[in-house]
């Protein structure tokens, strides 16, 4: 069955979400992955949005993490402090982040390109809640296209913490122990983080993609899992639900 790279990334991401867990998502692909997971793998995965929506029955993809869809027939219409404090308290299992740059420790830049803070070459929105979610949620994931400018150790601004400078660095900085980056799902492969170095490591390679392609599209030296596998392509069932139920208007999967 044919699929595009956005569909592939969403399907792969959805499989990492365990049932009976809590996830804070934003708009777009992460939300689609969580909705797909709810339909297939994790019926009691509970979706939260940082503006206050808790456990909605999402009627469609939200356009803002604070729009009405995010608390449509929800279990609770709470507040931003409520959701953020639930994260800080250690009750939230997963979150998804995005950004313009990511380094080999999973540190993410969504603030600026350039080195002069007062005159950035390019200014992005900044943290929003991303830094908070990356600090507090047990497992942080990222869905992104992979290229060497984006995957770089020459990161201009660390907006949200990955493993900072390696193992133990989060804890030394004062961040809650045990949390951190978990998976990065790209259009080429799935990456995890090697236990000892906390560096990014390729865990599975997507169908039709070569090692060389991955290396070419990464600005830093990658580790390779000893258990390297081919990524399982989307199943017919995943694609059907994604296309018919999760994103029938192709807002997200049409962006390929």
């Amino acid at each position: 069955m044919e699929y595009n790279r956005m569909e592939l990334m969403i399907c792969l991401a959805s499989r990492f979400l365990e049932d009976e867990s809590l996830v804070v998502v934003g708009t777009g692909a992460p939300c689609a992955a969580a909705m797909l997971a709810q339909s297939l793998y994790a019926p009691n995965l509970m979706i939260m949005f940082e503006a206050g929506g808790i456990g909605p029955l999402l009627p469609s993809m939200p356009i803002s993490v604070g729009d009405s869809r995010t608390f449509y027939r929800a279990l609770a219409a709470g507040s931003m402090p409520e959701v953020m404090e639930t994260c800080q308290r250690g009750m939230v299992d997963y979150t998804f982040l995005g950004g313009a740059q990511i380094d080999m420790y999973g540190n993410i830049n969504s603030t600026m390109i350039g080195r002069d803070f007062d005159r950035p070459k390019v200014r992005f929105p900044g943290s929003g809640g991303a830094n908070d979610l990356a600090s507090f949620c047990w497992r942080t994931m990222m869905i992104t296209v992979q290229d060497a400018r984006r995957f770089t150790n020459n990161i201009d601004f660390i907006t949200s913490p990955g493993y900072l400078t390696g193992k133990g660095a989060r804890e030394a900085a004062g961040l809650p122990p045990g949390s951190g980056p978990y998976k990065v799902i790209t259009d080429l492969c799935v990456l995890g983080f090697e236990e000892e170095s906390k560096r990014m490591q390729v865990e599975s390679i997507h169908p039709g993609v070569t090692r060389e392609q991955i290396i070419e599209n990464t600005g830093f030296e990658l580790l390779w899992s000893p258990d390297l596998l081919p990524s399982e392509p989307p199943t017919a069932e995943e694609l059907k639900i994604l296309r018919e139920k999760v994103d029938p208007y192709r807002y997200i999967i049409g962006r390929n």
Partner: protein
């Protein structure tokens, strides 16, 4: 069981270190705020007025403002337009997911400083070119924070404190460009960040229902407005609907903003347009795209502002230009998931 004791047994010397190097725009001192609140009127009188009058009286050049809702949801658009129309200058802004609100104020050249967590972007809709340009050219001085940090800075103020501890931001450049302080917990010795309380000069919040005294109800998510309403020195409320005091008293657990916090109440139906007002009307995505398009060039933006803000007398004028009730009715259907 062993008689554990987790208290601090003897005095301990510790160090407070600046964790960030940027400017702290607002005085976090709780005593200064208490002085203000001491003299703030508690009069329970009819506070209804017009948007023009409220902005004239309560928003001063140089004020630091906090905006309710969430960027493009339940925002007080009518007041934001009036601030632009009256050409208010040198305002500070709490940029706690500031999207369309930031876009409006920056387009009007009203903002010169911002505590930024999320600015410039309109979430899934794209980036505001003029807001981006203003920040890239240094027209708006920025101190970095996160959404939770700003939410907690409001909370510290709402609690009547000058600071509150938090555990995010640490280890990142976000904190280096903030004005937070690194400290340690007196009980566990663990590293914490101290966030300064944020007492805005004026907050502007759009609600579903209010009585003439300012007792307010909000439906749906609260975002940070419970705390913002309490943190602010002056508070302007716009409301979809005025209701009798009796309506408020019938369901007192629904009151999230009591009257003594409020300085002005204005009934502005559709007052959050083109934002999304929960349970009432969805955001006007077409018009938000029109905004983003108009910002491509300074000239087109100027024309756009002329047409929709400077050139109309009030928010009704804007709504009429945007198609009036016919347009609004279709947004109401969208909000309520009516399929056509």
């Amino acid at each position: 069981m062993p008689e554990q004791d987790f208290s601090l047994k003897e005095k301990k010397e510790v160090v407070y270190r600046p964790a960030g190097s940027r400017r702290l725009f607002c005085n976090p001192d709780a005593d200064a705020a208490r002085e203000y609140f001491h003299q703030k009127s508690r009069r329970k009188v009819d506070k209804t007025t017009t948007v023009a009058e409220a902005v004239k009286r309560l928003v001063c050049d140089g004020d630091y403002i906090g905006v309710g809702g969430f960027g493009s949801n339940r925002i007080p658009t009518a007041v934001l337009h009036e601030i632009v129309r009256r050409r208010k200058k040198n305002l500070g802004l709490a940029g706690h997911t500031a999207t369309h609100d930031f876009q409006i104020l920056v387009a009007g050249g009203c903002i010169n400083r911002c505590d930024a967590a999320y600015i410039i972007g309109l979430e899934a809709r794209g980036l505001s070119k003029s807001a981006r340009r203003a920040v890239e050219q240094g027209e708006v001085e920025i101190t970095e924070w996160t959404n939770a940090a700003l939410a907690w800075r409001y909370k510290a103020a709402a609690m009547g404190l000058s600071f509150i501890p938090a555990r995010s931001m640490m280890g990142t450049d976000t904190v280096k460009y903030s004005a937070a302080v690194e400290m340690e917990c007196p009980f566990t010795g663990k590293k914490y960040l101290a966030l300064p309380a944020l007492y805005p000069d004026v907050a502007i919040i759009h609600v579903h229902r209010a009585d003439v005294y300012g007792n307010c109800q909000i439906d749906g998510i609260m975002v940070s407005d419970y705390d913002l309403a309490r943190a602010a020195k002056k508070l302007i409320i716009t409301t979809e609907k005025l209701v009798p005091e009796e309506y408020i008293r019938r369901d007192p657990e629904r009151t999230v903003i009591p009257y003594y916090l409020v300085d002005a109440v204005i009934e502005v139906p559709f007052g959050s347009y083109p934002g999304n007002m929960p349970y009432l009307y969805f955001s006007d995505e077409e018009h938000l795209q029109e905004w983003l398009q108009a910002e491509q060039e300074p000239e087109s933006l100027e024309q756009f502002l002329q047409k929709y803000i400077y050139g109309v007398e009030d928010f009704w004028g804007y709504l009429n230009l945007r198609g009036g009730l016919a347009r609004l009715s279709s947004l109401m259907q969208q909000e309520n998931l009516v399929e056509k």
